[in-house]
């Protein structure tokens, strides 16, 4: 313990040095999304600049602070000044920022989105007053984008591992009691009370027990878990220590998607730092508790997010769910009592153990305590990673935090492929486990997809079902055959070949699958279809009766046209058309032959971005069929 105490003192000093920095510090947001936006290309530019100007400065890579739509994000902290955050930093903006702020000491206000202090600084408002950040309550994400995720000292300096040290001063039963009082429910989707399954595992006979961190994050449009691991891996690992201690496990495993290389790399680094600091191994901090953590990479199967399938996968088998009981908490990995917790559930634990159950009870509402992270994406103005108290309404999330929708709001999908698609009348629905379930959706792991009038809900329902159908492990017939049948029907409808009977068949199939499927995949797969049938029935009927897709999405029901009055005859589209569907002499309005057109979008883009006319090619619903 003393050894660690020293390290903590050193870490706090190191952090204080950052806060009272003597030389400028440049923070680059370099989580996956920042990297995709080009953050890493900025690094050499920065190095070159400080080299050329002989500036002594420190460059740090940090994680995701949330407003991913503003990427790349770069912060600069000059000595004696608050840290200032800049957005949309491309090479040109970067050079302006560096010249102005680093050389002349004047923040480049044009690209600044906020400063890290509580007050306005040189006309730059506090970052956490930014409309996207202000309504949020950041507990799990408290360090994300702020500390260097590859430096355990940064985590220690921000009270990291304090929760675990508190836990060690209590009995495992007391720790479980605190988690119970806190009202923590599993963040992996189902919202099962964490203390309940822990208690079962704690009491289960057996010397060898496992704690598994579920970082499979299978929802194909969600990245909360990835961001948390990339931005603050120690928070999740500390949570594993606490959970392991509570349930009596000595072995921890992180089961993580292979598609998350950066998260895996950061976990590996963090684990070796833990070892170095005496936070893993035998008799950790001179206690009776021994624990080690291994990483297992998933191999790309959505169903492996399900607990029993996940266990089969770690055992080296096909990832097929099995029926329960026995529950994993009694007989799980290699037949040993096993607890599987989601990344965010684990990431929440250090905060609860550090600040106490009463403190946690201040957030959220009765029965739904605390906060939940979401990845807010789709047709939303401000997309990114957010954290809000449970009970926040969809309207607050979409309009206050997300800044509203690009065009008119149509729907929001919660819970990914297992969830439902909710219409405008649900905007005031509080986001809690029960309210979402009552509306036919689920909380899920935290994917929120916003749709506007340009999104076709029938197409989206087909998309999700097609996804789950492909991912069905095939073990039970309702799931394997039923989903396939549903996809076929939806496919027909999106081609304008459906009939009204189909809607009834879809509903019946959906109900049958929900009842007959063994695991959560099948039991929830029909949700996107059932909810869209309920809330957007008219759109289905339009596809069926009028052969019309009002969102102009379903390919069979749309056509490309040249607007003669607008076409300047520049021939740009002729050059890109792969099928020779467009013809016409230069400088005269072109002709588009719909029988040859394969709707590839090339001409449309070329006309909009490269041609003089700009909007001479339109995509619209096809002429009504007779």
């Amino acid at each position: 313990m003393n050894k660690l105490k020293n390290k903590i003192t050193l870490a706090k000093n190191k952090w204080k040095d950052l806060e009272d920095n003597k030389i400028p510090i440049i923070f680059v947001g370099a989580a996956s999304c920042g990297r995709a936006a080009g953050a890493l290309e900025l690094m050499p530019e920065i190095e070159k600049f400080i080299g050329e100007h002989n500036i002594n400065a420190e460059i740090l890579q940090v994680g995701c602070i949330g407003p991913c739509y503003l990427e790349p994000l770069v912060d600069i902290k000059m000595p004696g000044q608050p840290r200032i955050s800049y957005s949309n930093v491309n090479a040109k903006v970067l050079s302006n920022i560096l010249k102005s702020h680093l050389l002349d000491g004047i923040p480049y206000t044009r690209a600044a989105i906020g400063n890290f202090s509580k007050n306005t600084f040189m006309d730059i408002p506090p970052l956490f007053e930014h409309p996207m950040l202000k309504p949020q309550v950041r507990i799990v994400l408290r360090n994300c984008g702020i500390i260097n995720p590859e430096d355990i000292d940064h985590y220690l300096a921000t009270d990291g591992y304090q929760g675990f040290m508190n836990a060690l001063t209590k009995t495992p039963e007391e720790v479980i009691g605190i988690v119970r009082q806190a009202g923590l429910r599993g963040r992996g989707g189902a919202g099962f009370p964490t203390y309940k399954k822990w208690t079962v595992c704690r009491n289960a006979p057996g010397d060898e027990k496992y704690l598994i961190c579920n970082a499979d994050e299978g929802d194909p449009g969600a990245f909360m878990n990835r961001s948390l691991i990339e931005s603050d891996p120690h928070a999740v690992l500390e949570g594993m220590l606490i959970a392991g201690y509570a349930i009596g496990a000595n072995k921890g495993i992180v089961y993580i998607r292979a598609e998350y290389p950066l998260a895996i790399e950061r976990l590996k680094k963090a684990i070796s730092q833990m070892r170095e600091y005496g936070l893993l191994g035998k008799n950790i901090l001179k206690s009776n508790f021994s624990f080690d953590i291994k990483i297992k990479e998933g191999a790309g199967a959505f169903v492996c997010g399900e607990e029993t399938a996940l266990i089969a996968s770690i055992e080296g088998k096909r990832g097929m769910p099995r029926s329960r009981p026995p529950f994993p908490a009694i007989s799980g990995l290699f037949g040993c009592p096993t607890i599987i917790n989601n990344v965010e559930t684990l990431g929440t634990l250090p905060n609860i153990l550090r600040n106490g159950a009463d403190w946690y009870n201040r957030f959220g509402k009765e029965g739904n305590r605390g906060t939940k992270t979401f990845s807010l994406v789709g047709k939303i103005r401000r997309s990114g990673l957010i954290e809000v108290q449970l009970g926040t309404t969809l309207r607050e999330i979409i309009f206050d935090i997300g800044g509203g929708v690009q065009k008119n709001f149509k729907a929001i999908q919660t819970g990914g492929p297992s969830g439902g698609c909710l219409s405008e009348e649900f905007l005031d629905l509080p986001v809690d486990y029960e309210s979402l379930a009552a509306a036919g959706s689920i909380m899920g792991s935290g994917g929120l997809i916003v749709m506007d009038e340009d999104t076709c809900v029938v197409d989206v329902a087909k998309y999700f079902l097609d996804f789950t159908q492909k991912e069905s492990c095939g073990k039970c017939i309702p799931c394997r055959v039923g989903t396939k049948h549903m996809v076929e029907i939806l496919d027909r409808i999106t081609k304008g070949e459906g009939n009204t009977e189909d809607l009834l068949t879809l509903r019946n199939l959906g109900d049958t699958i929900k009842k007959g499927a063994l695991c959560g995949l099948g039991q929830t797969a029909p949700n996107p279809v059932l909810t869209t049938l309920r809330y957007f029935r008219n759109e289905y009927l339009e596809h069926i009766k009028e052969g019309r897709c009002r969102a102009v999405v379903c390919k069979s029901l749309i056509e490309y046209r040249v607007i003669k009055e607008k076409c300047t005859g520049c021939q740009s589209c002729v050059r890109v058309c792969p099928t020779g569907a467009i013809s016409g002499p230069r400088s005269e309005p072109h002709n588009l032959d719909p029988t040859k057109c394969i709707k590839c979008r090339s001409c449309y883009e070329i006309c909009r971005f490269d041609a003089i006319a700009g909007d001479a090619i339109v995509i619209r619903t096809a002429e009504k069929r007779s």
């Binding site: 996956s32 999304c33 990297r35 995709a36 936006a37 991913c68 739509y69 990427e71 299978g218 929802d219 194909p220 449009g221 969600a222 990245f223 990835r226 961001s227 598609e259 998350y260 297992k296 990479e297 998933g298 191999a299 790309g300 199967a301 959505f302 996968s313 770690i314 055992e315 080296g316 088998k317 096909r318 990832g319 097929m320 290699f334 990845s375 994406v377 789709g378 047709k379 997309s383 999908q413 990914g416 994917g447 997809i449 749709m451 999104t455 989206v460 998309y463 999700f464 996804f467 492990c473 890109v576 792969p578 394969i598 590839c600 979008r601 090339s602 883009e605 070329i606 971005f609 490269d610």
Partner: protein
């Protein structure tokens, strides 16, 4: 291959739960899981080749034919889907004249889909080798392909 695959084996115990990690390592090093590799793994872990195929074919990650020089992954996660990811995939299938999951005959590209690369805010995205290209359009993508040999 025999020497290097033995080097891989050295890092893993002879136990069934090591099968997937071994397959992953083989794929990392050789780009795919070849019949010879399966044979060797079978001998090493003392499980049948059929069992190995049974397990490996269950998981989307494993490929059984050699990849191209460049690997293209089109994101068809939800955010990318609602912003036109499928049109990008169709365009690539047409341009490269292969189906999703295949490799071009000149071994220049292999093409596959992926569900969410975690940059939904920048959708639609396409990954070529290790680089992620955001806010893609068919036009930009066509241009981009030219820069890969």
């Amino acid at each position: 291959m025999s020497d290097t695959i033995d080097l891989i084996f050295e890092k893993y115990e002879r136990a069934q739960d090591q099968l997937i990690p071994i397959l992953q390592e083989v794929q990392r090093q050789y780009g795919y899981v070849s019949p010879e590799a399966v044979k060797k793994i079978s001998r090493y872990l003392k499980i049948t080749e059929n069992q190995i195929y049974g397990v490996s074919s269950f998981y989307a990650q494993f490929r059984f034919s050699a990849p191209g020089r460049h690997s293209i992954r089109v994101c068809l996660g939800t955010a990318c889907h609602v912003r036109g990811g499928a049109t990008l995939l169709e365009m690539l299938e047409r341009e490269l004249d292969i189906k999703c999951g295949d490799t071009t005959s000149d071994k220049r590209f292999d093409l596959d889909r992926v569900a969410c690369l975690g940059c939904c805010a920048l959708s639609p995205v396409v990954q070529i080798d290790k680089d992620i290209y955001s806010r893609m359009t068919v036009t930009k993508l066509a241009e981009l392909l030219k820069s890969y040999e």
